[in-house]
């Protein structure tokens, strides 16, 4: 049944630490933060959260020809660069990318916010579209990441582009899992991308969940946490059936063995502990994994008051205080549509090294949070099975299960 088992064979990342999964993983292993003050936002009235973890400036011309870049905003460029890295690692050649059995599932929260801003700055003063370039729509359409990456890499299989803010890339991985398990595709490039922009940070700032403490935020699970810091980047993974990976003779990084995915309907913005528990249970059931077998929980925990309490209590209800838990948003901010994929990439590194990368900025666990095993120090320990949570505004609850596998 090797075609029913799905494995990861490639990873690619763009983050606050620059281009490449290596730069992300080295920074997380060192406990570095990519968060910085955004003085360029000082003039924006009403925006109190002026922290972000943007991707450092780089010249995209070195990575993509003009014919590709003309339809890409920043977030699609991030996705294309991360996707190229992932396909290289997975040794996916042009023939395999174009045979119709390789698909693509990549999303973003919206199209490029920066391009939206540019468009409306031109359109609104005089109700004029005379200066609009042909690439504008392709930069702001909902499936800008999937479409542009598919074009750039010559992927002819199914194209999907989930969009659910903070769970976009976890949904993308879940959908990729389903496409492969069902036999519709053998290989799927999946993940997400988002870019730092004040209108994104605003989403959290207006509901009082935007962080303000320079040098200390975000601080998931901490007593003094003050909210979310948005980050930019992209995480892309190559998923394929175990049969395909073995046939191609490529290195297997881990298996994705379960995907819990449930909606809570109590409130569009408030987290629901019970739905989180149910999503984790569903993922573990599909994986055939007992709670006792789990070695690490990669938490969604963004540093908000309500979200961290709900998730930690959900984890406590399921795992008690045995399993180490960490969130990696202190390092790279909340990368929204990229979060699930980038955090999965970090989890894969922890599994490979058998080492826990702790939650950055967590000094005093909030007594209101659940009594769980907060990872606060780097530590060597066997990590064979990881539960990777991601939750989104709008009632989306996802939980992936990653398993070490002998390649």
């Amino acid at each position: 049944m090797d075609h029913k088992r799905v494995v990861i064979t490639g990873i690619g990342a763009v983050s606050a630490f620059g281009l490449g999964a290596d730069s992300l993983l080295a920074a997380v292993a060192r406990g570095n933060s990519g968060v910085r003050l955004m003085p360029e936002w000082a003039h924006i009235r009403g925006l109190d959260s002026r922290l972000a973890a943007p991707v450092p400036e780089f010249d995209p011309r070195a990575h993509l020809p003009r014919s590709r870049r003309r339809t890409m905003g920043r977030l699609a460029i991030y996705a294309a660069i991360a996707a190229a890295e992932a396909t290289n690692m997975a040794a996916l050649d042009e023939k395999e990318r174009g045979n119709g059995r390789t698909g693509i599932v990549i999303g973003s929260t919206t199209g490029s916010p920066e391009v939206y801003e540019d468009f409306y700055r031109g359109f609104l003063p005089d109700d004029s579209i005379e200066d609009v370039r042909s690439g504008t729509f392709f930069k702001i359409m909902g499936h800008t990441t999937a479409a542009n990456v598919g074009q750039a890499l010559g992927i002819r299989g199914e194209q999907w582009s989930p969009s659910s803010a903070c769970t976009t890339s976890s949904q993308a991985m879940g959908l990729a899992l389903m496409l492969i398990k069902s036999g519709r595709q053998d290989i799927v490039l999946c993940g997400g991308a988002d870019e730092v922009h004040p209108t994104v940070t605003m989403v959290f700032d207006v509901i009082g969940a935007g962080a303000r403490r320079e040098g200390k935020s975000p601080a998931p699970f901490d007593r003094d946490r003050d909210g979310v810091v948005c980050g930019g980047g992209s995480g892309i993974l190559v998923l394929e059936s175990l049969a395909s990976a073995r046939r191609r003779g490529v290195k297997i990084l881990a298996e994705i063995s379960g995907f819990g995915h449930l909606t809570d309907i109590g409130h569009i913005a408030n987290p629901d502990k019970n739905a989180m528990i149910a999503a984790m249970r569903q993922g573990l059931d599909e994986s055939g994994t007992d709670v006792e077998e789990v070695d690490f929980v990669s938490a969604h925990a963004t540093g908000t008051t309500a979200g961290d309490i709900a998730e930690s209590r959900a984890i406590a209800a399921l795992f008690g205080s045995r399993v180490p838990v960490a969130s990696h948003k202190g390092h790279m901010g909340h990368t929204l549509a990229a979060a699930g994929a980038l955090e999965t990439i970090i989890s894969l590194a922890m599994m490979k090294k058998n080492e826990i990368f702790p939650t950055l900025n967590l000094e005093n666990p909030d007594p209101e949070c659940g009594a769980i095993n907060y990872a606060m120090k780097q530590k060597k320990t066997g990590i064979n099975i990881v539960v990777k949570n991601n939750f989104a505004l709008g009632g989306v609850n996802t939980s992936l299960v990653l398993k070490k596998i002998n390649g």
């Binding site: 011309r61 003009r66 014919s67 003309r70 339809t71 005379e130 200066d131 609009v132 370039r133 042909s134 690439g135």
Partner: protein, 85 residues
Amino acid sequence: MHKLSTEEIRERVSKVLCREFELAPEEITAEARLGEDLGFDSLDGVDMVVALEKEFGVKMGGNEDLREVRACADIFALVADRLKQ
């Protein structure tokens, strides 16, 4: 208004094409064909018209002339024609 010479039109068209399409000035010769030599496609054609209209403050589209544009020389001539009108 200052009437632009043929040379001034060529220079300004060349600057627009270099800026918009990341071309080198030496690529913009009268003989250079937009598709075969400069790699333009239909989207580039749309963007070229928008950029030239902004540069020269005239409307380029609206008739059959645009369809006849094959090489840079055709663009120079078309801009000169529009500036006359």
